[in-house]
């Protein structure tokens, strides 16, 4: 077995990206994700790669756009306020169908907000952020190991579907250290006949573009893209079930919130409460099938580091036929296992609204 090493979540993302074949990183410093840039700055020059600190998040996402269009595996990373600045580029990347990996190590908001962990960019990540009809594949790691494995997965999905994969992490997972192993990863490479390589005067020119002045043409492009999205919804949803076999009270949580929730579920089980946890790993596509499989459930609790964003998708996934309550902290605060346990007990007694 590969050696266990201790690494920060942010560093795990950077190392995994390099192992996934990423040799171009463009970014701009912002807490709490700067370790990614620092790692890349140290490593890239030694392996023939490029680390470039851009003048802004706007410039860095557009460097990513250019590099992706040139056919290379490329990434940028930032934290919440910086992701808002990248929204323009994310929309262009979607409209031009080029693959990219973008990391958001979330902090509290809105505005400059704070620097403590948060999950309040859920809407921005899963419902848009930039303008226009588009989706991003949104992956939510809950451990340092997953920071690595989902980064590798994210690059693969981005190439496979020619779109952005976003790693939606948070300050806690980014800053914490845990043991991690890097198994030898087999990297799939994808043909990119659309890439900007220079024509060598041997083929018609390739154009990477999101402008379609004829509405019929733009509509067709959007419909095509949504056929692709439907395929992703069918094939790529990922989640983890924990004690779900006979669960009546189902806690739903991703990322750091799921770690806290797991403790609470384990304690609840010791008290004889039939609690379980659904941990979405892909936030888009949302793992609706996990909720269809939760046949013994009578109540759901969405545990979030936000004012309640994922809860809307939980309600949709359960078709609003079971009570769904919110157990949350915001602004950089994290719910304690006890707070989650209290919510579980309340639901167990049937007092859930």
């Amino acid at each position: 077995m590969a050696e266990r090493i201790l690494m920060k979540g942010n560093e795990a993302i950077a190392e995994a990206a390099i192992r996934a074949g990423c040799r171009h990183y463009f970014g701009y410093p912002i807490t709490p994700q700067t370790e990614i840039a620092a790692y890349m700055a140290k490593k890239m020059p030694k392996i023939g790669g490029v680390f470039l600190q851009a003048e802004s998040e706007i410039a860095s996402i557009n460097m990513v756009y250019g590099a992706a269009a040139a056919g290379f595996r490329v990434m940028t990373s930032s934290s919440s306020p910086g992701i808002s600045l990248k929204a323009e580029g994310l929309s262009y990347i979607a409209g031009s169908d080029v693959p990219a990996l973008v990391v958001n190590v979330q902090r509290g908001g809105p505005g400059l907000g704070g620097i403590q962990p948060s999950q309040s960019d859920y809407f921005q990540a899963t419902k848009g952020g930039g303008h226009g009809d588009y989706r991003m594949i949104v992956l939510a790691p809950a451990s340092v190991q997953e920071m690595a494995s989902l980064t590798i997965k994210g690059f693969d999905l981005a190439d496979k579907y020619r779109m952005t994969s976003m790693i939606l992490a948070d300050g806690t997972i980014g800053q914490m250290m845990e043991p991690i192993t890097f198994e030898d990863t087999e990297i799939t490479t994808y043909d990119k006949p659309w890439a900007l390589t220079g024509t060598e005067c041997r083929r018609p020119h390739n154009v990477v573009n999101s402008l379609y002045l004829k509405p019929e043409e733009l509509e067709r492009k959007n419909f095509e893209r949504y056929e692709k999205y439907a395929e992703i919804e069918k094939n790529e949803a990922m989640w983890e079930d924990y004690m779900m076999d006979d669960a009546e009270i189902v806690v739903v949580a991703f990322g750091i919130a799921s770690r806290v929730a797991k403790n609470a579920v384990a304690t609840a089980r010791k008290e004889g409460i039939k609690a379980g946890l659904i941990r979405p790993i892909t936030l888009w596509p949302f793992p609706n099938a996990a909720f269809e499989a939760a046949v013994s459930a009578r109540a759901f609790i969405s545990v979030e580091l936000s004012m309640g964003q994922m809860i809307e998708d939980v309600r949709l996934a359960t078709k609003c036929d079971k009570p769904v309550t919110l157990c949350n902290r915001a602004g950089g605060m994290i719910p304690s296992p006890d707070e989650v346990l209290t919510a579980i007990r309340t639901a167990w007694k049937g007092e859930a609204k």
Binding site: T197, H205, N209
Partner: protein, 250 residues
Amino acid sequence: MAVVFEKPKFLTDTPFHYCPGCPHGIIHRLVAEVVDELGVGGKAIGVAPVGCAVMAYDYFACDMIEAPHGRAPAVATGIKRCRPENIVFTYQGDGDLASIGMAETVHAAARNENITVIFVNNAIYGMTGGQMAPTSLPGQVTQTSPYGRDVNHCGWPIRVSEMLATLEGPEYIARVAVNNVKNVKNAKKAIKRAFENQIAGRGFSLVEVVSACPTNWGMTPKAALEWVESDMLPYYPIGVYKDRSAGEEK
């Protein structure tokens, strides 16, 4: 019969959408002639802006990408850092390069990014119908400065070439014009120099081309070219503002 004039290979067969009398056609052709003469069309990758030249991706016969407004130098940076062996150029207008994209322009120049920038300055936003640009002249009437540009209210036009030439980074900064035959010939020389610099790995080269917008200036094409001479060039003098390798061959 001997062929005495033909379309450069670097231009596609797509007819230009530009207004009658617009010098964009001349500037496109100059870029295309230079690329053909240097024999780098097969290696070229172009970045189109947002603005009148947004559809430049249909006209240049190389691989092309259309950048968000003002971001062309950043997009070009991403491409060039991945494919340093390719010849990467941007083609941008004044709103794109000198207003919304000023940060990207200045920093690409400061990094001496090995790209070629063609900057078309016609002192107006053309595509959106004639609004005030960062380069509109004092007193110039536009849709958003209907009483003439009041410098006390909205500031002074920016001399991009002079400003960039103060930076340590860039290799070559020149301003040319396309309002008469002599100036067109000199413009081509500067554009050629800007591409040769990239081929030689010398770094960031920007050619500011003082152009005209008869439609939005509300002038005939001839009057517009005369206005370039009488009003534009006194504020935006032609010249080479920086040439680090002056005198060196390519």
